[in-house]
């Protein structure tokens, strides 16, 4: 049972990461910066709880705040570039963050142990959960509280004018601008929200893993972050969830294939993207599901 709780916790980090990319993709931008926000959130939250002795919740929120601020800062220069250029610019940001942590050495003595980012040797000792007697189901509930909050927030945004604005910017910037939508505001807001959610996810992951290293936050993680909503679909917030399930099942399920796993994994993604070019949960599926849910009620029988 504990294993499944742990697995669901892991899904939680991935869903948050997928959601952080989803909100940016709604505005038509592809960002590889999510891994950088995730890393910054992980290190900040880890430092807060393990080094400075902060309680857990403020530590995680600090991770989210750091991610959000970085998202805001990256959002402005990112406005000047689009398409592949934005992909390269945001990937460069992730690499800058990774290299910063590769060179960051800031350790202190906490009791008998030296704790803190130690350059290439990583940051160990983020053991709040275990030192405070948290069982796997506590960690699961805590993580999923953030996941559900993020899902609800994005679902509400999707159904609000703000969501319509984001999608309008993503569909056609020129048309959106012509009806008075503030493109800068929409894109920077999306990047900030994405950074915030990725930072929260990073903070939660750091506490789950107890150890983080810059090696964990490279281009592969950035690629997965955008792959979750792209393969899962951007038709609704359930898209990144579907993407996470698809990838997670393949990652672990094909483990027995060794090196062949990467080959088959890639082939299955290509196949899936060909069959469902707009993702597993695309706009069409969302509309069909909505129609089903709104199935016409049988007219009441007329009285005699």
């Amino acid at each position: 049972m504990e294993f499944y709780q742990s697995l669901l916790t892991l899904f939680g980090f991935r869903i948050l990461l997928g959601l952080s990319a989803y909100v940016v993709i709604l505005t038509g931008q592809i960002s590889m910066a999510q891994a950088g926000f995730y890393a910054a959130g992980a290190y900040a939250a880890g430092a807060a709880s393990a080094m400075w002795g902060w309680p857990l919740l403020p530590s995680i929120l600090l991770g989210g705040l750091v991610g959000g601020v970085l998202g805001f800062l990256v959002g402005f220069p990112a406005l000047r570039v689009r398409g592949l250029f934005l992909v390269i610019a945001t990937l460069a940001f992730t690499e800058i963050v990774r290299m910063a942590f590769l060179n960051l050495k800031y350790t202190i003595r906490v009791g008998e142990r030296t704790i803190g980012p130690a350059g290439a040797e990583g940051f160990r000792g983020i053991t709040y959960y275990y030192q405070h007697g948290w069982a796997p189901w506590h960690i699961l509930l805590f993580t999923w509280a953030f996941v559900l909050a993020a899902l609800l927030a994005f679902w509400a945004i999707d159904r609000s004018r703000a969501g319509a604005v984001l999608r309008a910017v993503g569909e056609d910037e020129l048309a959106a601008a012509s009806v008075g939508i503030n493109l800068t505001g929409a894109k920077v807001a999306a990047m900030t929200a994405g950074g915030l959610v990725a930072g929260l996810a990073g903070g939660l992951y750091a506490h789950y893993a107890t150890y983080v290293s810059q090696e964990d936050f490279g281009a592969l993680l950035a690629a997965f972050a955008i792959a979750y909503p792209l393969v899962g679909g951007t038709g609704s917030v359930l898209g990144p969830v579907a993407g996470v399930l698809f990838f997670s099942l393949l990652i672990d399920g094909l483990r027995f294939l060794g090196d062949w796993r990467n080959l088959l994994f890639g082939a299955l993604i290509i196949l899936m993207m060909n069959l469902r070019p707009h993702g597993i949960v695309d706009v069409g599926l969302v509309r069909r599901a909505a129609r089903l849910l709104r199935a016409p009620r049988r007219p009441a029988h007329a009285g005699p």
């Binding site: 590769l102 983020i126 959960y129 007697g133 990652i251 069959l275 469902r276």
Partner: protein, 404 residues
């Protein structure tokens, strides 16, 4: 959507869910045969996969031999067969945690592995820090590491054990010995794969050892684990002309560096490498360029048993015994001894107690017979292993000095 497409989507979804079945715990054996379940964990894919493949070969060979010899004796006197699995951690922390939590949720008694230090760190981190500590909800599951060599990891948890060479001891001895043999060697330059935890920490070990031996350090050149171009770094060595070059990197970038040194004509009087590169992989990748490379290693086929194990693993299990994989053989022998002497019952209801018995048994071991001789166990659950200095000679490893 057309019908064929619909079928394909259905197949994909089914494949994904079928693969999810791998997550379900294995059903207990239906037969009456008693079994002891030992899991292996290593990098079977990715850049570092060579280490995992060798560990698995030695793991399979040793388990086969132990089972052929009658298996393991349990507390009630009955004999149990060893049942195994070997799981890929892809040198990725998240995957390592996931698979160890799965193994811990099943009836595996102990894990041998992982390959990478960046996986060992979080794995030891999610274990209970101190045995029996109230309020510590970490996993109570013994892990006995063969490969992850970054110094000082076992102290993270009392459930963590390692049987890896002690690099500071080996390099201090090596540099002292080199200084005696080559008194004209005065300056040293280093090269390090700076984004890999083990290479990076070992660079510090090499630097301290070189300074202790009286060498003047000219500086460190850096590259990354996946780099393929080293002309700038090697160019600096060509200009600074160090007497000794120490390279702290794994076979892939070590070979790239050595090829570039040959191209630029950089020939130091002495060339020293990282423990993890004293492998056949280096010889296959760049044997001629590595000529003269000296590495301290915890394994060489210099005893009858070491020769026998190396031969069997190569011929029948398609792997190689090296500094890391040799420890798998030793770890399994030690586990057999611990299981037979610590009252392990191997019954469905005694998994937690058996894990604790194995942990306590491992903690009590003070010495055991390794492939190169006596291995001392230290209070911090690490090993002090015998070692030799190996040198690359005509695309093979030879023993340059045997201090045992």
């Amino acid at each position: 959507m057309t019908h064929p497409r619909r079928h394909l989507v259905s197949i994909l979804v089914l494949a994904a869910f079928a693969s999810a079945l791998a997550w379900f715990p294995a059903a207990p054996a239906l037969g009456q045969e008693r079994t002891v379940k030992i899991a292996g964990l290593g990098a079977m894919s990715g850049v570092i996969r060579g280490f995992g493949i060798n560990s698995k070969a030695v793991f399979d060979m040793t388990v086969d031999e132990l089972n052929k010899a009658g298996g393991i004796k349990l507390a009630d006197g009955s004999k149990a067969r060893i049942v195994t699995t070997f799981v890929d951690e892809r040198c990725n922390a998240e995957e390592g945690i996931s698979v160890v939590r799965k193994l811990a949720s099943e009836d595996w008694l102990v894990v041998i592995g992982p390959t990478c230090s960046n996986v060992a760190e979080p794995l030891f981190g999610i274990l209970q820090q101190k045995v029996g500590a109230a309020g510590d909800s970490g996993l109570q599951f013994p892990i006995f590491t063969d490969t992850a060599i970054k110094p000082g990891l076992a102290k993270i948890s009392e459930w963590a054990f390692r049987n890896v060479p002690h690099e500071p001891t080996m390099y201090n001895h090596l540099f002292k010995w080199l200084k005696e043999k080559h008194p004209d060697v005065r300056t040293m330059a280093g090269g390090v794969e700076s984004d890999f935890a083990h290479s990076n920490s070992n660079a510090g070990t090499m630097e301290a050892a070189a300074k202790a031996a009286g060498l003047e350090l000219l500086g460190w050149e850096k590259w990354l684990l996946t780099d393929t171009e080293f002309s700038t770094q090697v160019g600096k060595w060509r200009r600074s002309k160090p007497d000794l070059i120490a390279i702290s990197s794994h076979p892939f970038t070590l070979c790239g560096t050595l090829r570039e040194m040959k191209r630029q004509g950089v020939k130091p009087k002495v060339l020293v490498g990282l423990t993890s590169s004293a492998t056949l992989e280096t010889m296959v990748g760049c044997g001629p360029e590595a000529e003269g490379l000296i590495i301290p290693t915890g394994f060489a086929p210099v005893t009858p048993e070491a020769k026998r194990v190396a031969k069997v693993v190569t011929e029948r299990y398609k792997g190689n015994v090296d500094i890391h994989s040799a420890a798998v053989f030793e770890n399994l022998q030690v586990l057999k001894r611990v299981i037979e002497t610590s009252g392990v019952e191997a019954k469905p209801g005694t998994v937690a107690q058996d894990r604790r018995r194995i942990r306590d048994g491992l903690a009590k071991i003070k010495e055991f017979d390794g492939l190169l001789g006596k291995v001392k166990r230290l209070d911090d659950r690490e090993s002090q292993k015998p070692y030799v200095f190996a040198v690359a000679k005509t695309s093979d490893w030879a023993v340059l000095h045997d201090p045992r």
